[in-house]
């Protein structure tokens, strides 16, 4: 555990810092004066200058970045230009929504995708072709469009689920489940077949290997050969794909939160983009790169656990 934390500080954290630096520099290119934007066109120049000084906008860029980074390390991400509220507090609430959407989606995708991939690898035949076809459709159908179709069918035409909106788990668990059902279903429909295809090809790769034949020759049951040995060896490439999938789901969530009007990080980013709310944008990038880097590290660790060659 100590080694894992050490790795995180040594390799993952610097990446996050670089990403935040890039975003900061990029954001500083925003045309116009944020102070002017906040105060409006008619505000007197003295007032604007005062706000610039207050916001630190008169300082040189490296100084501004350093101040921002130090504050961020203390959990202070500044204030939103539009709502004037604390960015950190806003993000904390919204991260929950996004993460619950992505994690639920990932769980469904992994369970169904890996299961389907394993079965289609062993049984072969039409199931394998179905997985290939479905993965192509999963690739081609954009999540936001599919989400809208699901809303049109399962919420508008046949009102089974609420079309949009979000209910907090603490308010009503059933309401929460209902509000998450369509977004999670959308994520699952777009991601499952791809993972199933990857699983199938990894499992087929392993099944063709010599050690599988030798394990059979040594009198092990087919169950044990597949569930223990093949799964373990096919697991390493699958874990890598799951990591990439997670990052893809975060990107997909940005659009799905807009489709389903969920108060997550994605819809916040879209709103902030439209309003040029730079502090919020910087905060979102920071938090999400944190999440992504941590997930990548977890993937790396599980890969090493599954593959002794990497470990020793």
């Amino acid at each position: 555990m100590g080694r894992v934390v050490g790795r995180w500080f040594l390799t993952a954290l610097p990446v996050v810092v670089v990403v935040s630096m890039l975003t900061f520099v990029l954001a500083s290119l925003v045309p116009g004066d944020p102070a002017r934007t906040i105060l409006g066109i008619n505000a007197p120049q003295e007032q604007v200058d005062a706000l610039r000084q207050q916001l630190g906008l008169d300082l040189p860029l490296p100084q501004r970045y350093w101040d921002w980074l130090v504050a961020a390390a203390h959990g202070d991400l500044g204030r939103s230009i539009t709502t004037r509220g604390s960015v950190a507090a806003e993000l904390a609430g919204r991260l929950q929504v996004t993460l619950s959407l992505v994690v639920l989606g990932l769980i469904v995708i992994v369970l169904v995708g890996v299961g389907l991939g394993l079965i289609s690898a062993i049984k072969g035949g039409w199931l394998g072709r179905a997985v290939d076809l479905l993965s192509l459709i999963g690739l081609a159908v954009p999540g936001f469009w599919l989400g809208l179709v699901l809303v049109a069918v399962l919420a508008v035409a046949v009102p089974i689920f609420p079309a949009t909106g979000f209910v907090h788990f603490s308010d009503s668990p059933t309401g929460w489940a209902a509000s998450m059902a369509l977004p999670v279903l959308t994520l699952a429909l777009t991601g499952t077949a791809g993972l199933a295809k990857q699983t199938r090809s990894s499992v087929l790769d392993e099944l063709g290997k010599d050690y599988v034949r030798m394990l059979r020759a040594r009198g092990l049951s087919e169950r044990r050969v597949i569930l223990l040995h093949v799964s373990r060896n096919a697991g390493a490439p699958i874990v890598t794909v799951v990591g990439l999938l997670f990052i893809g789901l975060v990107s997909g969530a940005v659009l799905l939160e807009t489709v389903f009007v969920l108060p997550g990080l994605g819809s916040l980013t879209v709103a902030a983009t439209k309003a040029h709310d730079i502090p919020v944008i910087l905060g979102v990038t920071l938090i999400l790169s944190f999440v992504v880097v941590t997930v990548n590290l977890l993937v790396e660790i599980s890969y090493a656990l599954l593959n002794p060659k990497v470990r020793t």
Partner: protein, 635 residues
């Protein structure tokens, strides 16, 4: 590669569709019945009609016209990001892979950074800074994805750089620029094109997503049409259909082109295929017993009395399905093994010897199936096509030792785990007795440090150690017969000798597959010579070596270094083993045989008794084989 792609109907249809969409968008001002912002208030939000073939949106805007104009945005944006992706990723990958060093490190670090940013978020950052500047956003999309391409190109380039012809080019002083352009680029180009096609699908999804969110261009776009549909889901869900159709089919087309390119690229690297020739329908196997053989004897019973036989295989035939055709690879093979006897099967690669052995445990690979044959083992009769009942013999009665010891062990588990697992599956041992037995097995195969080996993973073992572990695993079930499929081929000569000692010391019956006469002579009492799926000669090893009765046996013996004569060149058998789908009706060896006559070509040659000594041969001219040897031995 393009030629191969054009032979794939799905890919061609996709190409046509992409070209059609491009044409329609380019010609939009000519084709579109309305301008994209022409209103028809009286017919707002209607389904398809004569005036509006795809219906109308809010304010009666014509969907068909807007679709045509909208395509321009998506196409241009996709093209921009694809261009950036390729123009940045390709050179960066080439340089990183070819030069290595600092450039390589920088590219790898950058790709790590790019992996840490969810793409959509970063594109939104760009759009926050440059509102509605879709070009900037799509450039960012290309830049963010370029490191991934660079990584792919980098590994491909490294692989090419290691090739001898590139090293030769470098040594001959060809400038790097020229080497990259003439030699490296063409080889990695296939991979790049595949990735570009697949990246295009991502770019389209992102572009339409931006349009949907309303943060992209202010012009009409496909994504914006979806957004319009989303605002009118309640009263006109039809609006989802036209925009969804073009977006999905456009992405699908690129996906299919990518798949097609990948296949075409892979085919380009595979071995050049032989011109397709008609596969001869397999004729029914020849009569199970040679006509002139006494009916109550199996072929090598004169070497091993039948009553004592531990294993007797009769009439084994094996076929594989190759692109829809049934191809027989082993024909009517019969032999026997006495308890404690060491029997060797010898032959060139492709003679069917390994398949024969695998069939005894029901372990044929892929589409392989036993089409005929039975086996009597310890007095019990088995149908060799019945894999289930053969599986019951595995490990506890008949064990297998494989050719490549390394790949025969599961890389993910320790030796201890794998041996314990085999013991648990085949014996009642549990707990401390099990742990002790694992070490005992490792000692039995003369591994010097059993405890250390037990803790190791396969990749930490040497080839010889791994093969000893395989033998230990084969011994775990206390089998009565060990099938050893080229057990020493992958090992050093000194290690080979040690492994053979281990095999000999076991005191068990061994059926050894080998192409090495030295091994056969050292280890085995009986020998079976196979050629092109058939037994061509069998008998005692001493007889076969001293007095071969088949020209193939003679050729094999004379081409073996083990029997080389000092000062004489080592003769080789002319020609190659024919692939199974080209075996002739007559003698399989006819094409390469110095004794071949008209009688050899017409009908299958039966296995007949050797004249004047024990053993069997499948040659009509067995008496002339000895003369052949003398004739060629003359200077």
């Amino acid at each position: 590669m393009i030629g191969r792609l054009l032979r794939k109907p799905l890919a061609v249809a996709s190409l046509v569709w992409v070209l059609a969409l491009i044409m329609l968008s380019v010609l939009a001002p000519l084709i579109a019945p309305y301008s994209p912002d022409q209103q028809d208030i009286l017919h707002a939000l209607e389904g398809p009609s004569r005036a509006h073939p795809l219906g109308t949106g809010v304010l009666g805007l014509d969907v068909w016209s807007r679709l045509l104009y909208g395509g321009r945005v998506t196409l241009v944006s996709t093209a921009i990001s694809v261009a950036v992706y390729a123009l940045v990723g390709l050179p960066a990958g080439l340089l990183a892979g070819y030069r290595g060093g600092l450039v390589d490190k920088v590219v790898l670090r950058l790709s790590e950074v790019a992996y840490a940013i969810p793409g959509t978020i970063m594109v939104l950052v760009v759009l926050a800074v440059r509102p509605n500047d879709e070009t900037a956003a799509m450039v960012a999309v290309g830049l963010l994805a370029a490191p991934a391409l660079a990584r792919v190109v980098r590994s491909a380039t490294i692989a090419v750089r290691e090739e001898l012809y590139i090293r030769a080019a470098v040594l001959s002083g060809l400038p790097d620029r020229l080497i990259l352009r003439r030699h490296v680029l063409p080889t990695v180009m296939g991979t790049v094109i595949v990735h570009v096609a697949l990246f295009a699908t991502t770019a389209i999804v992102l572009e339409t997503g931006l349009g949907f969110l309303g943060v992209g261009t202010r012009q009409v776009s496909w994504g914006e049409l979806v957004a319009e549909a989303s605002r009118n889901l309640g009263n006109q869900p039809w609006l989802l259909a036209p925009s969804g159709f073009v977006i999905i089919t456009f992405i699908l087309a690129f996906g299919l082109i990518g798949d097609g390119l990948r296949d075409a690229n892979a085919e380009g690297y595979s071995v050049r295929q032989r011109a397709p020739r008609p596969v001869r329908r397999h004729r029914p196997p020849a009569a199970a017993a040679p006509p002139n053989a006494p009916a109550d004897l199996t072929p090598n019973q004169r070497v091993i009395p039948a009553a004592d036989a531990l294993l007797a295989v009769e009439g084994l035939s094996i076929a594989f399905e190759v692109s829809g055709q049934i191809v027989t690879v082993v024909e009517d093979v019969s032999f026997a093994v006495a308890p404690g006897e060491l029997v060797g099967i010898v032959g060139e690669s492709g003679s069917g010897k390994s398949v024969t052995v695998a069939a005894l445990l029901g372990l044929l690979r892929g589409t392989g199936r036993v089409t005929a044959g039975t086996m009597t083992f310890q007095g019990r009769r088995f149908d060799l096509a019945d894999v289930k009942s053969l599986a019951g013999l595995r490990a506890r009665r008949i064990a297998l030792i494989g050719q490549d010891p390394m790949s025969g062990l599961d890389p993910a588990f320790t030796v201890r785990h794998q041996l314990a697992e085999v013991l648990k599956a085949n014996t009642g041992l549990r707990g401390p007795a099990l742990a002790e037995r694992v070490l005992e097995l490792l000692r039995a195969v003369s591994l010097p440090e059993p405890t250390a080996v037990a803790k190791s993973y396969p990749h930490q073992l040497s080839g010889g150690m791994a093969q000893r572990v395989s033998i230990a695993a084969a011994l775990a079930g206390q089998p009565d017969l060990i099938l050893a499929d080229e057990p020493t081929t992958a090992l050093d000569v000194t290690v080979q000798a040690e492994i053979l000692d281990v095999l000999r010391s076991l005191g068990k019956a061994v059926l050894l597959v080998t192409h090495d006469w030295g091994l056969l002579v050292d280890l085995c009492q009986s020998g079976i010579v196979m050629y092109a799926g058939q037994v061509v000669e069998q008998g005692s090893v001493a007889d076969i070596v001293a007095d071969p009765r088949h020209p193939y046996t003679l050729g094999l013996l004379r081409s073996n270094p083990y029997f080389a004569q000092p000062g004489r060149p080592l003769p080789a058998i002319p020609g190659l083993v024919l692939p199974p789908d080209r075996w002739p009706a007559g003698c399989h060896f006819a094409e390469r045989c110095p004794l071949v006559g008209p009688a050899c070509l017409a009908d299958p040659i039966p296995l007949g008794p050797a004249a004047g000594r024990l053993g069997w041969t499948r040659c009509l001219f067995q008496s002339q084989v000895a003369g052949l040897e003398e004739r060629e031995a003359r200077p």
